[in-house]
Symmetry: C2
Subunit: 356 residues, 2 copies
Amino acid sequence: MKKHNFSAGPCILPQEVLKKAANAVTNFNGIDLSLIEISHRSKEFVEVMEKARSLVKELLNLPEGYSVLFLQGGASLEFLMTPYNLLKVNGKAGYFDTGTWSSKAIKEAKTLGEVDVFASSKDKGYNYIPKNYNIPSDIDYVHCTSNNTIFGTQIKEFPKTDALLVCDMSSDIFSRELDFTQFDLVYAGAQKNMGPAGTTLVIVKDEILGKTGRSIPSMLDYQVHLSKDSMFNTPPVFAVYVSMLTLEWLKEQGGVKAIEKINQEKAALLYAEVDRNPLFIGFANKEDRSTMNVTFNLTNETHKDTFDKLWNEAGINGLKGHKSVGGYRASIYNAMPIESIKVLINVMQQFEKQVS
Amino acid sequence: MKKHNFSAGPCILPQEVLKKAANAVTNFNGIDLSLIEISHRSKEFVEVMEKARSLVKELLNLPEGYSVLFLQGGASLEFLMTPYNLLKVNGKAGYFDTGTWSSKAIKEAKTLGEVDVFASSKDKGYNYIPKNYNIPSDIDYVHCTSNNTIFGTQIKEFPKTDALLVCDMSSDIFSRELDFTQFDLVYAGAQKNMGPAGTTLVIVKDEILGKTGRSIPSMLDYQVHLSKDSMFNTPPVFAVYVSMLTLEWLKEQGGVKAIEKINQEKAALLYAEVDRNPLFIGFANKEDRSTMNVTFNLTNETHKDTFDKLWNEAGINGLKGHKSVGGYRASIYNAMPIESIKVLINVMQQFEKQVS
């Protein structure tokens, strides 16, 4: 039985991508060698890297002057690279705190300089996105997290600032159309909508780099990686290749505009059931709800075992909420078919019948 | 035709490892989910990580008090993590410079503090390993590179020091028996003897950490990664899994002792032909020759096209030397069968007949 995979990340990838990836591990493009045993400087792999980069530019409609990198270390290393590359010596950064990942980014920035957390939703356990905040004017950049995987909230309106705007889009990049001219630096761990764990996408406006007066270690310096086309050191070959396949798949689906429409339908369907079914209550503030991670709790915890048994029997995987929120989290990324969501909704309705 | 893959890295992996890895990408352990779409916190993946770590300890016969990590960023990020974790504020580090990778390590250490390069073979284009050097006594650690992939040299006798001893073993770990009690920190990019590109093995003596007086960003702090069992952030799932498979394969071959014997036979066979055949000359000083990377040049460059045609026709891949040395480099890692080396030797002998 094929599972219905609601895992938050690493997460579901398109079946055809998995098949192509498996084939490449035994014989890549018919060259009688595995993808993972050829040189990263071979013609074959250089083409993969170039195609992955160009698909990112095309799918996100990136303007001229932006470059694309595939690095390692996940968003966690970007939390450090951001201030290393953008925070001036004796400068200050503004952070928009919407959850666990924002908080971790703040912690790393503080190792390099002054940080002003100008808005936070910590007061209510991060169940909403702050509005009506004041962004300080004396900062080098604003950092925000577009989608909060753990809490199921998503920024719909990004901070407006004259400073540089940095966004961690790990869990919703490629899920909705955005005007990328508003961002100066965007990064995303691959393991949600883009590919397997092991590579990090970085999109950077070239002109913002090299202006901090700071000396930057090579591996943390975007300019070093840009000068070597993401090959300053050996790239994570498999993760980049599977990302390329996933981006090809997305293009075949009609690109970001088409997938956004489907994502909205999927999310609307599931939130409607969360709101309708008296046994569930949504965690996130309605207007800030994520289209990627649907978080909800039981209204009556005594029925927990009954519900858990039902979804396990239905072949559903990865529905357990993050330990800091509890309850349930249905992660419904790009590759999640609407059929799986219907299976979950069906289970929720069965559950209602069973305990009523 | 199966290729004879002499690529320097990413490089040849055992055929059965590639098959198992491909299967796991479609259906991992029969759980009806792909390895790359399950949570890294799932029971299934936690078992992979634990097994990979325990195989490292077993195969290298690591003493008590050493821990094993699987990180990201390759040796290049370790060049920075080493001084961050071991170089005291206002301290000094000693570096043993045996080639390109040592030099890169030196460059990163200099971003954090004082570096004393107490021995170097740069004077002769890195074709030998320095002997009879004096190690300064006022240093926090000594850093060396056990095998120089580009130049084909290998340290047989490691520096003796009262300071901590750090070794970059990226290209020869698991290829020979070593007394690991002499090292305090060892690291290695996976993409030679251990697995695909995308993860880095770190072996560290626990008691040496936390003693520099330096504040360390989370992702660069070995203690942070140790406290989370290599799961401080999402690990590179596929690369760790394939490393585990390769270590299982090595254990089935009889472990490091058995593979060392085979490696010595393979290297002896190929070096014998390089020395015998008047059309070739070895690059590295004989007593410092690597058992992993056999570097050689043509005695007469006018025959280059003839030789290149011959080995290409024989299905040999990745024989071209690194651009900084030129000539040829046969990388003969653990997974390289002796049959492929015989094919290369045969080509070298055919070449001799053809141009004589």
